[in-house]
């Protein structure tokens, strides 16, 4: 236990110096960090939103909606399949519909049920390749009623896909310049976490997130009689829809759009060439430009409506074919709202409705205050613990305090080196570690005292003290590590930060107490060759 060959000493020094180097950037300011040579670590620990200040949102994707959408597709596919049957094999059916999260239909002839089930099973698309779990389940429910439903695996896949697509759309919406400051990441089955450090107004983010952003261009049906008729009956003719414009005008439109928002290549805020009002410019991609050119040349003289999320933004008249594939949307925009809209259009429509489930905002002052309070509490805690240890163990107390200081350096070094996030509970974790880290030292010192009282000489008392305390120290720390790992797995945000510092603290304090303090003791033993222990 008391042998420290040169390689061990080198290792101890290496770990300590390395930890200190990684910890160093945390106490430097921006300018000083700049001047660190590039081969040395220069990034401080990441600060959590509760310390930096910022907005954190939890969103849920309305995955039910995308499942319903997929069910409607399934229904169309089923109808197509059933209609291909001919002659003797013809399956005649009624009441094909979506009901209770499944597609259902009734057979006119019950004896066809086996054939119908087999036919429907052809729509199965195993998940993740031919050997994967089936995507649909076909069964006969009741008398001649066939039900086709998605397997739980398929539902999960649809939800995951909707979440993934939403994340990929929200990223560019929230962070159009790609600065990468705003974090958008999926969480669980259908949740999305958005973290915007430094932001203090959640409303702007929520507006940009919640806008579905569905952009379509529909021709206006300029038939006043048809419009009046539709308004009177409340039911426009097949193929037409009624929409309000932002200026209050009621328009009858063709239901099928001539072009849709996914053909917009780019979009930006600009100013109207004539009245200098803020507008949203857009450019179509090649296909879009061709379709738009064709539609405008065929419908010269008619009006077309620019529909955003079912509201008509404007309805200009087509004076000539628009072939350059670009245009603008005018409305009652401010520069700010035009810019937001441009970002939303450029990023594209969301595949499903997004709901805001929780909003957390930490103002910048509170974050700074928390850091200061945490730092103060750490320093005071450290001083108190140091005094306590000196009183209790004298010289060995000094060794323990020396280890404790290295311990703190190592914790910060590990946090920075691993790129872990430091949160306010995380700071509490460090302070708690300061208190608990001396435990391993105390366990050893108490053993040494005991051995010394039993009449052992200093060297052998120390040797045996370390030997006997080892298994206790390991047991005691493994249990705390178990608790920390449960916290990490099941906790969220700030609590995770606490678990991380607690876990790092366990490793560093076992290292410093068991290796570093021992080394200090050995150096002292060699230097003074004491006959009596000063504790």
């Amino acid at each position: 236990m008391l042998q420290f060959p040169p390689w061990k000493v080198a290792l101890i020094l290496f770990v300590s110096v390395f930890g200190a180097l990684f910890a160093l950037p945390n106490v430097l300011n921006e300018d000083q960090r700049e001047s660190i040579p590039s081969f040395l670590p220069s990034s401080p620990a990441n600060l959590g939103l509760d310390l930096r200040g910022g907005v954190s949102l939890l969103l849920s994707v309305d995955a039910e909606q995308s499942v319903t959408k997929q069910l409607n597709d399934l229904l169309r596919e089923a109808r197509a399949k059933l209609q291909t049957t001919r002659g003797d094999n013809r399956i005649s059916y009624t009441a094909l519909r979506v009901e209770d999260d499944a597609v259902r239909f009734r057979l006119r002839d019950n004896s066809m049920s086996d054939r119908a089930i087999a036919l429907m099973r052809e729509m199965n698309q195993p998940i993740g390749g031919p050997l994967g779990a089936p995507s649909i389940e076909v069964s006969q429910v009741g008398n001649g009623e066939i039900e086709i439903s998605f397997t739980p695996q398929r539902v999960e896949e649809i939800m995951a896909e909707a979440t993934r697509q939403t994340v990929s759309k929200l990223g560019p919406r929230l962070d159009p310049d790609g600065l990468g400051e705003i974090l958008v990441q999926p969480s669980g089955e259908s949740d999305i976490i958005v973290e915007a450090p430094g932001e203090s107004d959640p409303e702007r983010l929520i507006r940009v997130i919640e806008q579905p952003g569905v952009l379509t261009f529909n021709l206006v049906v300029e038939d006043q009689n048809a419009l009046n008729e539709a308004l009177r009956t409340g039911q426009p003719r097949v193929g037409n829809i009624i929409r309000q414009s932002v200026t209050g005008e009621t328009l009858l439109l063709e239901a099928d759009p001539i072009i849709e928002g996914d053909m917009v290549r780019s979009s930006s805020q600009g100013f109207h060439p004539e009245n200098n009002q803020p507008i949203v410019n857009f450019t179509f991609n090649t296909t879009g430009a061709r379709l738009f050119g064709e539609a405008t040349s065929q419908n010269r003289g008619r009006r077309f409506a620019i529909l955003l999320d079912d509201a008509v933004q404007s309805a200009p008249r087509i004076n000539s074919a628009i072939i350059q594939g670009s245009g603008f949307i005018e409305g009652s925009f401010t520069v700010e709202s035009a810019r937001e809209l441009a970002t939303v259009i450029q990023a594209g429509a969301l595949p499903a409705q997004v709901n805001v489930e929780s909003v957390r905002v930490v103002g910048p002052t509170l974050g700074q205050d928390s850091i200061e309070a945490g730092a103060l509490a750490s320093i005071i805690g450290l001083i108190l613990v140091a005094i306590f240890m000196l009183i209790a163990y004298g010289l060995f107390g000094i060794f323990a305090v020396g280890s404790l200081i290295v311990n703190i350096l190592l914790i910060f070094g590990a946090l920075s080196g691993l790129g872990a996030t430091l949160t306010l509970p995380g700071i509490a974790g460090i302070i708690l570690t300061i208190g608990m880290a001396v435990d391993a030292n105390v366990l050893v010192f108490e053993r040494i005292r005991e051995e010394s009282r039993n009449g052992r000489k200093p060297i052998s008392a120390i040797e045996s003290g370390y030997q006997q305390a080892l298994s206790t120290i390991l047991d005691a720390n493994i249990t705390t590590l178990l608790a920390a790992s449960v916290l990490y797995t099941l906790g969220s945000g700030p609590v995770k930060g606490f678990a991380v510092t607690l876990a790092i603290g366990i490793f560093t304090s076992v290292f410093t107490a068991f290796v570093l303090t021992r080394w200090f003791s050995v150096i002292w033993l060699r230097a003074t060759r004491p006959t009596k222990l000063p504790m």
Binding site: A373, G381, V438, D439, T480, L487
Partner: protein, 340 residues
């Protein structure tokens, strides 16, 4: 040194007073179990859902003014408190809490297409509505230089809060099972039972105190409970390790005396470690600000109760859980490993 003057080889007869301790704990546990459903827990918005806004005091604003404003806006179950703020230059702050309106109410209020989405959004908007009203009532003299500030604001919808509560309870249950399994693996089942009883004791009493004092019970409280479990376990393991060792050494000594001997031998370590940990925690409690107050309180309480329970519950229960003194079963890990 001071510690040398403390009774090092203590002769405290812990085990003789164990029945008294059991009775005390039983009363406290019973009180907690009755209190928790009766008085309930003061769930923070993590678990209850709702909104919380903390602002620095606008000049000339009294708590009554803010309360009147909240009532005027018809916030649901508003609760306004004054707090001392965080940090060295702590400013006086107001903390405003309110429940989120029920979805049905919002849906009834919203005139057109009152679907679920609109309801959720409006719930979340409750904090914004309040802040807008505050801005109107206490305008800033200068757009750049703010007279008062929003320190934090949280809104948590009902779905999230339910999920968080469930995750918290799961975390507690899972870690208790882990501890049970670990002690079983390292010691024997008799130790395991004592240790987990002690942990349950600590958890129930801590939750009881939170109910009694109506302190905010939120996510960080769960983190604190898990830390208490870790700490209390740590303490218990140290004593158990000693008991096992002494059992091997003194094969004929009565179990009660062996436990007393082990407790006394680890007593100064127990006191020292609890002492340093408490010092560190008290410094968080005093200096860490409003956000960490509940958290550090839970930990302080937990360290005290955890130390007590490792002596009077975990160790004392060893006398009643059918401990085997079969030497085969009293090996430490090193021996088991070195043999294989």
């Amino acid at each position: 040194m001071l510690m040398k003057r403390l009774p090092i080889e203590g002769k405290v007869d812990f085990m003789s007073v164990r029945m008294f301790a059991f009775a005390l704990s039983a009363v406290a546990l019973a009180a907690s179990v009755i209190l928790i459903p009766m008085k309930g827990l003061n769930f923070g918005i993590d678990f209850a859902g709702g909104m919380l806004v903390e602002i620095t005091k606008p000049e000339g604003a009294e708590i009554e003014d803010i309360r009147a404003l909240a009532n005027e806006l018809e916030l649901k179950a508003p609760n306004i408190t004054e707090a001392s703020g965080t940090g060295a230059n702590a400013e006086e702050t107001f903390v405003i809490r309110a429940a989120l309106p029920d979805e049905d109410e919002v849906a009834a209020d919203a005139d057109t297409n009152a679907d679920e989405t609109a309801a959720t959004d409006q719930e979340i908007d409750e904090a914004q509505r309040f802040i807008d009203a505050l801005e109107a009532a206490y305008p800033h003299s200068d757009a750049e230089e703010r007279d008062w500030e929003i320190l934090r604001r949280d809104s948590v919808g009902p779905r999230v809060s339910n999920e968080l509560l469930q995750a918290g309870i799961t975390a507690l249950a899972v870690s208790l099972i882990f501890m049970l399994a670990y002690i079983w693996f390292r010691f024997q089942i008799a130790f395991s039972v004592g240790a987990v009883m002690a942990l349950l004791h600590d958890v129930i009493l801590t939750v009881g105190v939170f109910s009694l004092l109506q302190i905010d019970f939120d996510l960080t409280t769960i983190a604190a409970l898990l830390t208490i479990i870790g700490y209390s376990m740590n303490d218990t393991v140290v004593v158990y390790d000693r008991v096992r060792e002494e059992l091997r050494k003194y094969k004929k000594m009565p179990l009660k005396d062996v436990i007393n001997l082990s407790l006394n031998k680890t007593l100064s370590r127990t006191l020292l470690t609890s002492g340093t940990t408490l010092l560190a925690l008290i410094s968080i409690y005093v200096l860490g600000g409003e956000v960490l107050r509940g958290f550090s309180f839970a930990l302080i309480w937990g360290v005290v109760i955890g130390t007590y329970s490792s002596i009077f519950i975990a160790s004392a229960l060893l006398l009643h859980t059918g401990l085997t003194r079969d030497p085969e079963k009293l090996q430490s890990a090193d021996e088991i490993f070195s043999k294989s």
